[in-house]
């Protein structure tokens, strides 16, 4: 469905004139569709994108906004230059691995670790830089700029956008009881296991890595 089709369906369900809505302007409806896509992306964790970062010499902390404004959290980092995957690690594990890991330098990064919700670090600190890192990340949806734009969700999920729009419209019309009924239908989609497979895939992709016991033992 295009944004226009979604909006019209929402307005129709709200008993509004789809061409000249009264209580729910087109701009408001578009904002709600965007919000619905964000909520869906947060709950389903299905949208993935990839971006590229060029490693700078001596620099080991990188911010997600450098990658994209819609980046939620990194999933996988692949060194395109070396054709290697960078394994995720934590700073505590790095502390256990090496006393002065913060000073360790190398030709290329081998591991990455989270620093904040929007920042991650590379180890060892690349001396030369120049490597291209392919970062696969979980994303929020991009903004739909035109009526002909389509949400980047499966068709079966796009019905939920309509449902959310109806809920939000009812809230604005001060009909909380009906609104909450609609919202529970919307939320039930997450509870009934409809998206469990997608969530499970996400967890596997992010956390599935080799045993680190032998590699982390101190010499």
């Amino acid at each position: 469905m295009t944004r226009e089709e979604i909006r019209k369906r929402i307005l129709y369900l709200l008993n509004e004139d789809v061409d000249n809505p009264v209580f729910f302007t087109e701009a408001q409806a578009n904002t709600v569709i965007q919000e619905a896509m964000e909520v869906l992306a947060e709950e389903v964790t299905e949208l993935r994108r990839e971006g590229f970062i060029v490693v700078e010499p001596g620099r080991f902390i990188y911010m997600l906004p450098e990658l994209s404004d819609v980046a939620m959290t990194p999933l996988r980092i692949w060194s395109d230059s070396d054709q290697e995957r960078l394994d995720p690690i934590t700073m505590k594990e790095l502390d256990d691995f090496q006393e002065r890991w913060m000073e360790s330098t190398g030709d290329k990064p081998e591991w990455w670790y989270p620093v904040s919700h929007d920042a991650f670090g590379l180890w060892p600190i690349p001396v030369n830089g120049g490597q291209v890192l392919r970062v696969e990340y979980l994303a929020w949806p991009e903004t739909l700029g035109q009526d002909t734009d389509r949400p980047n969700f499966k068709e079966e999920l796009q019905d939920l956008l309509v449902l959310y729009g109806q809920y939000d419209g009812l809230v604005r019309q001060w009909e909380p009881e009906r609104a909450l009924d609609i919202f529970f239908s919307f939320a039930a989609s997450f509870r009934d296991g409809r998206f469990k497979s997608a969530t499970h895939k996400f967890q596997q992709q992010f956390f599935n890595r080799d045993s680190v016991g032998s590699r982390f033992a101190r010499p």
Partner: protein, 450 residues
């Protein structure tokens, strides 16, 4: 950069109010609180802070009530005695006051950096003061080596008067100090300071010096011309290109002609003009008005001087200059730190607690701002009076509660990664050898028969 103002408009639209029932100030307050709530509950925003050794604090106080007047971190350096009626510098004063036998005690200091000025132990914890926006400390390193966390009870069992023992730091503890502080053990009493912000009350740094080589990468870092008074800088742009720098002092009011605009080079000129006694000036007039001339060696300690703009980014091939407050990308750098021979703290941060419509919302992603709206709606609709709607308020509260959960999930990747790691270090997944089992009809041992 979006501010709370746009969210205030959105909330008022949802409430179908123009600020009559719910004032903008009230909406702003709850939006700001919603932001803090997300940060407090999720701890998603984390950063590094470098602290020089010995610890620095804003002011030293004698009585606890002075802390209410301290506009920053404070250290109470006295010993309270007799129900707060007496503050002692040394413990022997308390003994003297109570007519107890007086013993010699360790020396006292008001600021911890004074530890470095004289030999001898100090009877005070080696306490570091964290930034005001700190929430939780996750890790502490000293000179890039991680310090182990410990409790004071553990340290009490290890050593007598452990807080004053010199040595190499290897533990840190929350200690018994006020919140937003921590202590390390053992203590390194050597005076170290990474950067000295000279004339910090004058604004942002304009030049850098040190044992490293600094250079500036900016098209507008050199002065195009020098001039003596404002009129010259107003010359046609065809004659003057670049950025001009005035090398004179002033202007001062011209008392002779009753005009503004007396410019002078030397101090004595100004003194003479003002009719003051002319003294020998210690000010050395600049012989190089441009101050940065490629053909002239720069003065010692000043390798460059920004002609325009302020320090925005530092780049090095051997280290990274990391903005400690990476979410406040506007403004300038007011303080500099280094993790070399210093203490580095990894901690979560909170947004400022000063509600303002102009406040920037940069500590959370744009997409999470909707949870601030839900929080404000939940609070406003639950307020007694017109607009009271408990059912809808409860619903919005439920929706707002998803915000901290989401950010916790995004910001807590480290713990999740550890939890889901296959084959965690030190945990064997192999099953051990089974214990031997005897058949049920095997005769019991004689000594167990009774």
């Amino acid at each position: 950069m979006a501010t709370l103002s746009t969210l205030v408009d959105d909330v008022l639209k949802r409430l179908n109010d123009d600020g009559t029932l719910f004032t903008r100030a009230e909406v702003t307050r709850w939006l700001s609180e919603g932001l803090r709530r997300i940060a407090v509950q999720s701890k998603h925003a984390r950063t590094f802070t470098a602290l020089d050794m010995p610890p620095r604090h804003f002011t030293a106080i004698t009585h606890q009530w002075e802390s209410n007047l301290a506009n920053g971190s404070y250290r109470k350096w006295t010993f309270t005695h007799q129900n707060g009626q007496r503050e002692c510098t040394f413990l022997w004063e308390a003994q003297a006051a109570d007519e107890a036998p007086i013993e010699s005690h360790l020396r006292a200091v008001s600021n911890l950096w004074e530890i470095t000025t004289q030999a001898g132990e100090v009877d005070a914890p080696y306490r570091f003061y964290l930034p005001k926006n700190e929430s939780i400390v996750y890790s502490v390193w000293h000179d890039h080596e991680r310090l182990i966390s410990a409790t004071t009870s553990t340290l009490d069992t290890l050593e007598d008067r452990w807080w004053s023992i010199d040595g190499e730091p290897f533990l840190y503890t929350q200690g018994l100090g006020p919140s937003e502080t921590f202590e390390i053990f053992e203590i390194d009493t050597e005076y170290r300071q990474s950067y000295d912000h000279v004339d910090r009350n004058q604004g942002f740094p304009r030049s850098f010096s040190g044992d490293r080589t600094y250079s500036v990468d900016s098209e507008s870092h050199e002065w195009g011309y020098a001039y003596a008074w404002n009129g010259e800088s107003a010359a046609p742009s065809t004659q003057l290109t670049g950025i001009g720098r005035r090398f004179t002092q002033g202007p001062e009011h011209d008392t002779v002609n009753d005009e503004q605009g007396f410019f002078y080079t030397h101090d004595w000129e100004g003194q003479q003009h003002r009719g003051e006694e002319v003294t020998v000036s210690t000010f050395v007039a600049e012989t190089n008005p441009l101050r940065f001339d490629p053909d002239v060696d720069p003065p010692v300690g000043e390798l460059f001087n920004l002609a325009q703009g302020i320090f925005r980014k530092g780049v090095s091939t051997s280290r990274q200059y990391f903005p400690s407050s990476q979410w406040n990308v506007l403004g300038g750098c007011r303080a500099f730190g280094s993790s070399d021979d210093a203490v580095l703290v990894w901690h979560s941060v909170l947004p400022p607690d000063t509600p303002s419509e102009e406040a920037e919302i940069n500590i959370i992603p744009d997409q999470v701002r909707k949870y601030l709206i839900y929080y404000a709606m939940g609070v406003l609709l639950n307020r007694q009076g017109e607009g009271y709607d408990p059912a809808l308020a409860e619903h919005y509260n439920l929706r707002a509660s998803r915000g901290p959960i989401l950010m916790h999930k995004l910001g807590n990747v480290s713990r999740a990664a550890t939890t889901y790691t296959r084959g965690v270090t030190g945990r064997s997944t192999e099953r051990g050898n089974r214990l031997p089992r005897l058949p049920s009809n095997f005769p019991r041992a004689p000594w167990l028969r009774d």
